[in-house]
């Protein structure tokens, strides 16, 4: 999933959702007069440059002018226009790439999977454009191969040895849990280091302490609170991922409370609960119709279909909400991001993706991936607070953009 995220940096990519009206969405419904009388304090900063002057002129023309509001309006020093993220991927082109790589992976018994993965990431990042430039992914496939072989070896050892000494499985499980923070940090760092934009690399710090706290300590809290802590944990996870990323010497920051996360999961949960009730009613109806005979597996199908669809939609609803929330609260230095992913459109898109995938036995995966990415990129904007050229490289590391820095990283990717 991480692959499909637009800007490789905050791999977080992944989720967010702003209830607040995004600048793009606000124009149509709001009459100019209303804007004039009550300048929306929250909006000015985010307004596209073209829209602001227009609204002002209108306001001047209207009789009841309150000088105060106009003064209050903070006029940021020439707010730069929103820079859209654009995805240039093409479904046909990606299909050809995907099918060839999938076949080669099968023919090589999985060895080629590392190359296929790098090509996939390069394709998605290399087709994502903002401010006139694309993202570059330059991981060496053999590093992924090492990680893959290690994982395969551990898995086989786990199965084979565990067959003889079951205690080994418990030990391996505990070892895996303890190593999880390290694995997460390594993977994020590996991918960040191998992604660059305009010749400047992304970085991910080495916050093993907070990773352990997050993935071990807080995981326990989730269990103790029977999952009620989960939305807050999601917030903390995004915070952890975004805030430890850098582009060159510029830090990413993420500032958000937990309530939007709770809200998103609450709505998602209600969707699932509602579907469970509707499904139950349908099942009860079927039971009544056949005079109390207990329904067989086939008669449970409507229930399973309703529940499954609702669960799927709820997942993507939460994804869209959190996508907006995370990106709208993410800063890169003084610059910020504006996300306006519409939940309804996103759920429709994912539902058609699902149907297409099922109908084509998975062959339409490239089409689904490309159109998801195009939609996500189209919902995201970068809002520079000034020239971005001031962002520089980190430290004085010279040498090739590809060569040495990766070497200090035992670059492994565990497929997270």
């Amino acid at each position: 999933m991480a692959d499909e995220n637009p800007p490789p940096a905050p791999e977080a990519s992944l989720s967010g959702g702003a209830p607040a009206p995004s600048p793009d969405a606000l124009s149509p419904g709001v009459p100019p007069a209303a804007v004039a009388v009550e300048p929306p304090a929250s909006v000015p900063g985010t307004e596209a440059s073209g829209a602001a002057p227009a609204a002002l002129t209108m306001a001047v023309g209207d009789p009841p002018i309150h000088p105060a509001p106009v003064e209050i309006r903070p006029t940021p020093a020439a707010p730069a226009p929103l820079a859209p993220f654009t995805f240039h991927g093409d479904a046909r082109e990606y299909f050809r790439i995907w099918i060839v790589n999938t076949l080669l992976t099968l023919l090589t018994c999985g060895v080629f999977a590392a190359w296929a993965k790098v090509r996939k990431r390069r394709y998605f990042r290399g087709n994502t454009e903002v401010l006139g430039h694309r993202f570059d992914y330059h991981a060496e496939p053999w590093r992924l191969l090492v990680g893959n072989i290690l994982v395969a070896f551990l898995f086989v050892a786990y199965v084979v040895v565990g067959e003889v000494y079951p205690l080994v499985r418990v030990g391996a499980f505990l070892a895996g849990a303890v190593l999880l923070p390290w694995i997460v940090v390594r993977s994020l760092a590996f991918n960040a280091h191998n992604t660059s934009y305009r010749g400047i690399r992304f970085y991910f710090g080495q916050p093993y302490g907070s990773a352990a706290l997050l993935y071990l300590g807080q995981a326990v809290v989730i269990a103790i609170t029977l999952g009620f802590y989960y939305p807050a944990w999601q917030r903390n996870r995004r915070q952890f991922i975004v805030s430890n990323h850098r582009l060159g010497d510029a830090f990413f920051r993420f500032e958000s409370g937990s309530s939007p996360f709770y809200l998103a999961y609450l709505v998602g949960g209600l969707m699932v609960a509602g579907a469970a009730i509707v499904g139950l009613l349908v099942t009860v109806g079927i039971v009544m119709a056949q005079k109390g005979r207990i329904p067989g597996l086939t008669q449970m199908l409507p229930y399973l279909a309703i529940y499954g669809t609702a669960f799927f939609l709820a997942r993507h609803y939460v994804y869209a909400r959190l996508f907006n929330q995370v990106w709208n609260r993410t800063h890169l230095d003084r610059h910020r991001f504006v996300a306006s992913l519409r939940t309804g459109a996103w759920m429709r898109l994912q539902l058609t993706n699902l149907l297409a995938m099922i109908g084509s036995c998975g062959l339409l995966y490239p089409w689904a991936a490309v159109r998801s990415m195009r939609h996500l990129a189209g919902s995201l904007h970068f809002q520079p607070a000034g020239p971005v050229e001031t962002i520089g490289r980190l430290g004085r590391n010279t040498g090739s953009a590809v060569g040495d820095t990766t070497a200090e990283f035992m670059g492994m990717d565990f497929g997270l």
């Binding site: 240039h88 087709n127 694309r134 305009r198 001031t390 520089g392």
Partner: protein, 343 residues
Amino acid sequence: MNTIAAQFLDGRHLAARPAEVSREDDRLIVAGEGFRHAFPVREVRVSDRLGRIPRYLYLPDGATVETTAHDAVDAFLPSTRRTRLARLLHWLESHTAFAAGATALLLVAIGLTMVLGLPVAARHLALQVPDAMDRRAGEVSLAAMSKFTQPSGLSAARRREIEALAADLAALRGLPPPRVEFRSMGGRFPNAFALPGRIIVVTDELVEIAGSDGELQAVLAHELGHVHHRHSLQGVFRGSAALLVVTLVSGDLSALTTFSASIPFVLLQRGYSREFEEEADDYAAETLRLAGVDLDEFAAILGKLEGSREGLAVDYSYLSTHPHTDDRIKRIDRNAPRAPRSR
């Protein structure tokens, strides 16, 4: 030599400057307004070609050149093993014919895995199932079968005789005696079934139709073949690829018991696959040879079973998927040397 239009990224700041890249002997020249750099061509690495995404020339001092002039870049830089592989990949990826071929190959591979791999996995898995689990599956399917059969009307003595026949046959193959269950099918469908848990169900109707113990032995030997190969469990795994995959991956067999309840219904309606029947026939032929039972007995009971099916409006007999009786007899004759005449 011509030049390539590109963007120069100095690696120090997030700034891009237009530049022209050219080659002078074995040096790569990157020049633009107010700068001109030269690098040994050998030390320049180029990103592989992929779709239409920009190409990056990674320069030895940490700077990068970004360009979309793919063909020019390819022509510019020396070809190494790495770039040749990348070029081959790109060539494969950019031809629709290869995409179509790969799709077809992939579908064929998946189909072959399903057709060839599924039975192998099902057999492997069925033989792996622990005896305790096999017995539990047997109880479940026997209970399911009891719902549409009646208690047997055979005398206890006759039952013991038949049990002894089955035990003797099993002993010839070095196996513990199977558990023989007797059921009545309401006067129709002379039949015998092999269930999990080493259970052989014999119907009263079969015992009535059999003219001799030899004929009963033939049927029992055949069912012992199913028991030996655990065809009932194999059938369950073959019938549900989902169960097979889940069990293979997780090693959890608990779902198997649930599925076992369906075994009698499947046996009654579709029977075993032709392949299973032939396996059981081969097993029976060998067992009967060891027991000194003439294969004519097998042929005789097969003929009677076939005759009993005629005239049924709905063919419920599990024999319906059996190979044609004549073929089966010929097959056994061919594969198994005749036992010396016992009579």
